[in-house]
């Protein structure tokens, strides 16, 4: 497997990851599902980007496409470009793809209960990745796997055990060990703590953050939990109906929220200052993914919607170098959302 080494470009551009105008559709027998509709995304070295949105917004489809893991059929990448360290993922051969997966980009999946192979020891599962990407033999790979287990806080002796012998939180640690075994430059975490106990969540998040710093990895954190975003991310992209509707630094998104949908997400959090107040969920249901929206998909749930919102896809508008908002309401220079203006 040594031939996998060094066949990818290694010169480091400014961004470890660039997504340009990416669109992905699922063609099923019943309908076409427009999962991702022309998104742009850039990830700087060693930063953590939070990808936020409701279930069905296209977050997982987006990141699976980075590894070319969107199930095909039914998934079709209908347009766009994905550059990982300057390599165009769509143009990679099978061999190059295998060299990239796990080495350039690694992924931690949502459910640790099902993401490990039940009939392989955890040590073998970590070592498998090492053997594919590093020029080492079986024994040495296993030793490195044991070391990796210790890095995630599990005794190396347990490498000979099987997944069913570990608890959920421990399995997620094993998943992290597999993902980080070859020191990838990008780590994707797809709701890594959703399936875990609240008490374990904090531990796992801290572990991921520490290891990310230790290995100098860039990270994409998919979540619908704004609390996790606040704790782990440097930048945030908010997705709705396959589009990134607002993007910016953590501070911009949290303190200078601009998109009505982002505001809705914040409003639906419990209010810690006034515990008796009711939650304010976003009214209506998530948009229908089988519709190819040629207007703002959020318009029918948006409290600020005007006629214009139904006529065209909103343009991208930059309020700072980093802060992008896709909302037609800002055509009116006087417009502002209620959040941050409650008292003034």
């Amino acid at each position: 497997m040594e031939e996998n080494k060094d066949i990818l470009k290694t010169d480091q551009p400014e961004y470890v990851l660039e997504i340009k105008d990416l669109s992905i559709r699922y063609d099923t027998d019943d309908a076409k599902v427009y999962a991702v509709n022309g998104i742009d995304l850039k990830l700087k070295k060693q930063t953590t980007l939070g990808l936020v949105g409701e279930t069905g917004a296209g977050k997982t489809t987006t990141v699976l496409s980075l590894l070319k893991l969107v199930p095909d059929p039914p998934g079709v990448i209908t347009g766009g470009e994905i550059l990982v360290n300057g390599n165009d993922v769509m143009q990679l051969s099978k061999k190059e793809l295998s060299a990239m997966r796990g080495k350039e980009i690694a992924m931690i999946f949502q459910d640790p209960m099902t993401s490990l192979n039940p009939v392989m020891t955890v040590g073998d599962q970590i070592a498998e990745s090492i053997m594919i990407h590093e020029n080492v033999g079986k024994e040495e790979a296993f030793k490195m796997a044991q070391k990796m287990l210790e890095t995630v806080g599990i005794s190396g002796e347990r490498a000979v055990e099987y997944p069913h012998q570990f608890s959920g939180g421990m399995k997620q640690r094993v998943d992290i060990a597999i993902a980080l075994a070859c020191h990838p430059s990008i780590l994707i975490a797809d709701e890594p703590t959703t399936a875990l106990d609240v008490t374990i969540q904090a531990q796992v998040l801290k572990l991921m953050k520490d290891l990310k710093d230790q290995f100098q990895t860039s990270m994409i954190m998919i979540t619908h939990d704004l609390g996790i975003v606040a704790r782990t991310c440097d930048e945030v992209a908010v997705m709705y109906a396959g589009r990134i509707v607002e993007e910016g630094t953590l501070e911009e998104i949290f303190k200078k929220t601009m998109h009505p949908y982002t505001e809705g997400l914040f409003n639906s959090l419990p209010n810690m200052k006034d515990r008796n107040s009711k939650l304010k969920p976003i009214k209506g249901l998530i948009s229908d993914p089988t519709v190819d929206y040629q207007y703002c998909a959020f318009a029918d749930r948006c409290p600020y919607a005007t006629e214009k919102c139904w006529q065209e896809v909103p343009a991208k508008r930059y309020f700072s170098e980093t802060h992008m908002v896709m909302c037609s309401a800002y055509d009116d220079p006087e417009f502002h959302i209620a959040r941050g203006h409650e008292n003034g």
Partner: protein, 310 residues
């Protein structure tokens, strides 16, 4: 682990007692062994004398007790109506049956597992549809008819293979083994397909792909490693049935196995032979199923953990 094995072996005892009693009882309903032995011309006195001599006038439960006592304490399955040792007769035929069963199972595995994998990997493509049609055909074609067709083609017309008997070693075995393998292979192809499909959609395959594991290893190591367990269960059941003797195929090809021994004994009202044969078959089937259960422990660590009570 050994505790589990011991438990399973002890569990054999009630199974043996129950199945032998059922056979013994059923055979007692089928007619008079004394009559079978002496033939139509025997007088009533001769018959009565022989019945007394064979202990046939005792109540059923006494006869069964005497019989099973001999089996358990002397390892003696008794003598058949021609005064030949049932055990010796059975053991003389058993190698042929084992031989046929092993070759047949080998063919089954060789044909069906790769085809099942192909059908799963190429789900809803022409390969899958073709294999499904073949599998349905394989399951529906009667064994004896397929046997006769193959015999006409390969033995009579082409003269490549002997028509029947066991005198030509492996050549004699090809047709009967193939005939018994066809329906089994058809079933296992379908099972492999569905079992593989369950695994192909599993999350851990996505994890493996995300590590950069190549597609061949994904299918053969990660998917098949998990899919093999239910496949093995079905194959072991099929093997157990084959050890009991494939009556139809053995008859068509005049294969001197256990199946034809027992069916001939039934026709001749050779009570002891039938009972003894079935008891022996039960023992072998139980042993095979036990071995397969133990094999699981090596294939699936979760089952091993159960055995160890962890």
């Amino acid at each position: 682990m050994w505790k589990y094995v011991l438990k399973r072996i002890l569990f054999l005892i009630p199974i043996m007692l129950l199945s032998s009693f059922i056979v013994f009882y059923l055979m007692s309903l089928t007619g008079d062994p004394a009559q079978a032995k002496l033939g139509e011309d025997a007088t009533e006195e001769q018959l009565e004398m022989l019945r007394e001599q064979m202990g046939l006038n005792d109540p059923l439960i006494v006869r069964y007790g005497r019989y099973i006592g001999n089996v358990v304490f002397h390892g003696d399955l008794g003598k058949d109506i021609w005064d030949k040792s049932v055990f010796d007769e059975y053991m003389a035929r058993l190698p042929y049956t084992i031989y046929l069963a092993c070759v047949s199972m080998f063919l089954t595995a060789l044909i069906s597992v790769p085809l099942g994998i192909i059908a799963a990997v190429r789900q809803n493509k022409w390969e899958d549809f073709t294999l499904s049609a073949l599998a349905i055909a394989g399951m529906s074609i009667p064994n004896f008819w397929l046997g006769l067709l193959l015999m006409i083609k390969f033995a009579l017309q082409l003269s490549w293979l002997p028509t029947s008997g066991a005198e030509n070693g492996i050549l004699s075995l090809i047709l009967p083994a193939f005939c018994t393998a066809v329906p089994n292979a058809a079933l296992i192809t379908r099972m492999t397909r569905s079992s593989m499909l369950d695994c192909i959609r599993a999350d851990y395959l996505r994890t493996a792909r995300a590590k950069g594991v190549k597609e061949g290893r994904i299918v053969l190591k990660h998917a098949l490693g998990n899919a093999i367990i239910p496949i093995l269960t079905s194959m072991s059941n099929q093997f157990a049935i084959l050890i009991g003797g494939s009556v139809v195929v053995e008859t068509v090809f005049a294969w001197p196995g256990v199946g034809s021994l027992i069916i001939n004994a039934v026709k001749a009202k050779n009570t002891n032979m039938v009972t003894g044969g079935i008891i022996m078959t039960t023992v072998f089937v139980a042993i095979i199923l036990l071995l397969v259960d133990l094999l699981y422990a090596f294939l699936d660590p979760r089952i091993k953990a159960q055995y160890q009570g962890k």
